[in-house]
């Protein structure tokens, strides 16, 4: 800047230079590590996407981990509609729709019930409601293995054995603990005075729910819906135990698919099938990531 200050600021400049060099090195290390991990993370997804567009001969010759030399689109329609899984040659579509029919209502019912439960347990507490909440919370930690035999027995009695409706019921009740937990913890942050004032004005239970609670609940409802949808879509244990054949969800079909390849594995079609199974929750994640992550962290800490 000015000549007079030049000499005196020399020392500081040198020091600043060293500091900025040090900072540059640390930045390089930080971004280098971030990139390495990013490659490690994106790698498998990249491999599946690429292989779903490569001809099988090319995969057999060059392995799964090589760059594509030609584009080949037929794996996708094959995976969707023709490929043989467990003796049935109708592709993934059937199982995809099973998971969809399971995930939709299972998601909707358990979220609606969870919202009402959370509303009661936070704004209409009654003697023993805390104990009841504690009991419902235990459901969060129940290992599925404990419930396998009882569910099989109960669904048999109800005439819902080996049906998508049976799975919907299972996922609804299993999810109730989570949805109630999410909603209750959110509603507890809504000032009680708001509810009290409405009650003095003569509003009843449902009116307060619809006019006060629901309008400020979209954030938690989105979290809950996403949590339940991805959870149900990705669930495997109940799907494989309680249902068989054409009534299984997509996760069970994927396992059957990858176990069935005894001689030549059709990696091209299998890649497309895996992506069909992964796409719905991935789309939810990429579009509603914020809510997805919030659900994960809230579900964990409590």
């Amino acid at each position: 800047m000015a000549d007079t200050t030049l000499s005196s600021s020399r020392g500081i400049d040198l020091e600043a230079g060293a500091a900025s060099r040090k900072r540059l090195i640390s930045r390089i290390i930080i971004y280098g590590l971030l990139t390495l991990f990013a490659l490690f993370y994106i790698g498998p997804l990249f491999v599946v996407v690429v292989n779903s567009f490569r001809p099988l001969q090319e995969i057999s010759a060059n392995g799964l981990l090589s760059l594509p030399q030609s584009l080949h689109l037929s794996a996708w329609p094959q995976a969707w509609g023709e490929f043989c899984i467990g003796g049935q040659c109708a592709g993934m579509q059937r199982y995809f729709w099973n998971s969809d029919h399971d995930g939709g209502p299972g998601d909707h019912h358990s979220t609606a019930l969870g919202a009402i439960n959370g509303y009661v347990l936070s704004k209409w507490k009654f003697p023993g409601s805390e104990i009841i909440f504690g009991m419902m919370l235990l459901g969060v930690f129940m290992p599925g293995q404990i419930a396998l035999l009882p569910w099989a027995f109960l669904l048999g009695k109800l005439g819902l054995a080996n049906s998508v409706y049976g799975l919907i019921l299972v996922h609804c009740i299993q999810g109730l603990a989570f949805t109630t937990l999410f909603c209750r913890n959110y509603f507890i942050g809504i000032p009680d005075d708001l509810v009290k004032a409405a009650r003095i004005d003569g509003a009843g239970f449902w009116r307060i729910f619809y006019k006060i609670i629901l309008p400020i609940s979209p954030p938690i409802l989105i979290v809950t819906v996403i949590w339940q949808f991805t959870g149900i879509w990705n669930e495997y244990l109940f799907g494989v135990v309680l249902n068989s054949g054409a009534n299984q969800p997509i996760t069970a079909a994927l396992v059957a698919l990858s176990m069935s390849g005894t001689t030549v594995r059709s990696y091209d079609v299998m890649s497309a099938a895996v992506l069909i199974g992964a796409l719905p929750p991935l789309l939810v994640y990429f579009f509603g990531g914020k809510y997805f992550v919030r659900g994960l962290t809230q579900g964990a800490i409590k």
Binding site: I59, P143, Q145, L148, F205, N234, L254, M270, A300
Partner: protein, 310 residues
């Protein structure tokens, strides 16, 4: 308007209607309470009873005492299952926490495009263990995956065949499990790092402490509860390990990657040993209780201490 007409209409039969209104919340929640009660207590109780019974292919109710448990613990495969569980839990929880913490610390350095990096590390959480397991199984396949690639690049002696190697197959499950869940521990750690009081950090940096020192002496010690929470969450996930083991190795080669949860499935639905399978399921519940009961007691204790102080 509608409120007014509503209340005048009710006013006639005050006592009964008012009483009824009081019960609305309880009526509304009653079905959920019943369902949860059945799900948590009746189901667990029923499975417990089956574990004491002489059930084989179908549930029967002849009482056998602890015989199913005794035969389970004498079973070699159960021995493999629980030693696998210990081995897996230790390395999986440790590595998932280490990688997650490293990622959280990296992301906490005021980096550009933070949400891009976070999205990258967390996308596996959205997909199922079945999808992850299937794809990683291909990568581990020596004739198509990583080994094939390195061999074809010229290093012909290179061997990386975890899933076909009895001794090391469990490492395949550990690596893949960490890949799937490190993003989750990262998110929890990051939330913890961000919750540390900024003034303390500022004070430390004015005192001339280096970034490294600030993390070691100020930030990390103040998030020890997060470490514990993450460890507990991951540990209970490890105890329930099922999908990943099925999709990656299907308990193989041989029985080398049997886990308690996969063994329950095997006993109940492949061998028709429902009684012993129920006993194994009860052991999983017991393992979860061993982790979760002390932890929730600790949480209650800590909360009480904090509220006592405040």
């Amino acid at each position: 308007m509608s409120t007014a007409t509503y209340s005048t209409a009710v006013a006639g039969s005050t006592s009964f209607a008012e009483k009824l209104k009081k019960w609305v919340p309880i009526f509304v929640i009653a079905p959920s309470i019943l369902a949860s009660f059945i799900y948590v207590f009746v189901f667990a109780g029923w499975t417990f009873y089956i574990s004491l019974s002489d059930s084989t292919l179908l549930p029967t109710y002849g009482f056998r005492g602890l015989e199913n448990y005794i035969s389970l613990w004498n079973n070699r495969r159960w021995g493999v299952a629980y030693s696998n569980l210990f081995f897996f839990s230790f390395f999986y929880v440790f590595a998932a926490m280490a990688v997650g913490l490293l990622l959280a610390l990296l992301i906490d350095q005021k980096i550009r495009a933070e949400s891009f990096w976070r999205t990258m590390y967390m996308y596996p959480l959205a997909v199922s263990f079945i999808v992850t397991g299937t794809v990683w199984q291909w990568l581990y396949n020596p004739t198509a995956g990583i080994q094939f690639l390195v061999n074809s690049l010229g290093w012909t002696d290179f061997e990386f065949a975890l899933t076909t190697d009895r001794k090391n197959a469990i490492w395949a499950i550990i690596i893949t499990g960490v890949w799937q869940s490190a993003g989750f521990t990262m998110a929890l750690f990051l939330a913890g790092l961000r919750s540390v009081d900024g003034d303390i950090i500022k004070a430390a940096s004015i005192d001339g402490a280096s970034t490294f020192r600030i993390y070691r002496k100020v930030i990390l010690p103040s998030i020890t509860p997060i470490f514990l929470a993450v460890a507990v969450v991951q540990l209970q996930a490890a105890i329930k390990t099922f999908d990943l083991a099925v999709a990656l190795t299907n308990s193989g080669p041989g029985i080398s990657t049997t886990f308690p949860a996969t063994y329950v499935y095997d006993l109940m639905f492949q061998r028709g040993e429902i009684g012993e399978g129920a006993a194994a399921a009860m052991m999983i519940l017991a393992a979860l209780a061993v982790v979760l009961v002390p932890y929730s007691l600790y949480l209650t204790w800590r909360r009480r201490k904090e509220s006592g102080r405040g």
